[in-house]
Amino acid sequence: MSHHIVEATDVRYAYSDGTSALNGVSFRITHGEAVAIVGANGAGKSTLLGHLVGWLSPSSGTIRIGDTILTQQTLAIIRRTVGMVFQEPDDQLFMPTVFEDVAFGPVNMGLPHDQVHARVASALATVGMEHLAHRPPYHLSGGEKRAVAIATVLAMSPDILVMDEPSSGLDPRARRRLIALLMSFEHTRIIATHDLDLALELCPRTIVLHKGQVAADGPTAKLLTDPAVLEPCGLEKPLSLQGCPVCAATGRQS
């Protein structure tokens, strides 16, 4: 299954004001993997995601999705394969109703109407938002917006899902629901996040970015418990792996 592989080879990128954001990033993600991209603010996470959907193009180096190298000419094919969920659902939802928003992608793909309807229905059912189909997206709650934003991407049946901070701004239950949802997917998932607990739960593999370079790439459970990796990159152990402050206090007292 080589067509679901995501490969970055020595990707470098500098913004127009000269700030270099990526300084030679290389990795290879294979079919069905769930990979977390973590790193401090400004480590280059969003810039990297921008490259995966061809929103930014590397100053040097290549991005390969399956057998296709990302260029202006292959953009349309790449964007069918890679579905991107943006950090801000408000940026992603722009049609007058949820239904039309989810249908936007499939309609643009030129699918016949009955298939569009079927895809919209199944995408909304997957995220549990069928009841909102005829509401305008800007009146939904944060959690609902996020779910609908994911549905808009699912409706295009991408092979690879790229997500920027999927759990930001969600309440604990909505976050839990999101994790369960993402767990159930079989897509290749690439998730940029500051939520290290989410990374730990969802992604067997983690890529740690630091100053535009891959600082570490390996099993999440190993990397996120290794102070030698975390500290220089401005990260901390996931909360679930940190000692419970209440228990620790009682332990000291006794």
Partner: protein
Amino acid sequence: MANIHVKAAEIGWLERLASRDTPLGRVDPRVKLITTLAFIVTVLSYGKYQIAALLPLAVYPLVLMVMGDVPARFLIRKLLIASPFAIFVGLFNPLLDRQPVLTLGSYPIAGGWVSYAAILLRFVLTVSAALAMMAGTGIYNICRGMERLGVPSVFTVQVLLLYRYLFVLMDEGLRMVRARALRSAGNRGMGLRVYGAMLGSLLLRTLDRAQRVHVAMCCRGFDGHVRTIQSLRLRGGDVVFLVGWLGLFVMLRLVDVAGLLGALLTGAGR
């Protein structure tokens, strides 16, 4: 500040009204566009001193309002916002045209006043018809209708995105106004000077955001055309709507209904 948020919420009135299921909303947008355009042309085709003959045409905006369940209060408010234009256009008519054209009781009325009233009446008729039609259709459907009628999609997509951009702009603007108000301790903050800087940064912020929206659209296959799944199909009711109204406009234009009615009531038929 609360005020500005209420005002901002009001900008969405068009979509809110249009999203309801009304008899007017079910009429094909193309049909509504054509009849409203025909209505406007009919209204404009009357002579500059004709007032009475125009009055029966008010039936079109009134029926649209009823069919679309458009609140009159709303329509009047929007009319008032647009009214300065019409008011100023004819402002000098009464001064320039002092020739009496009719008498009310024993008072002669100058032609300028009559034509001024005719301008205002035409303004009320055409703008309220357009507003009622929009409220019963929604920008989105209007654009679809226009596209199907042969208006270039470059133009309709512009209108659509311009309309969406309005909300983006408002959203960003509101955040900045809120941030400024919360840190200006109830005073005028740094006064007017700060607004210049705010406007500049508002532009940059909305450009940034619009770019993100654009990228999100491109990621979902946007190629300059807004496609939809609802196909437009002309039904029997649409044809009746179109033919009925066009017929009525022609009849009202040819037959002076107001004059006939007046003649009937004053017993001119003797």
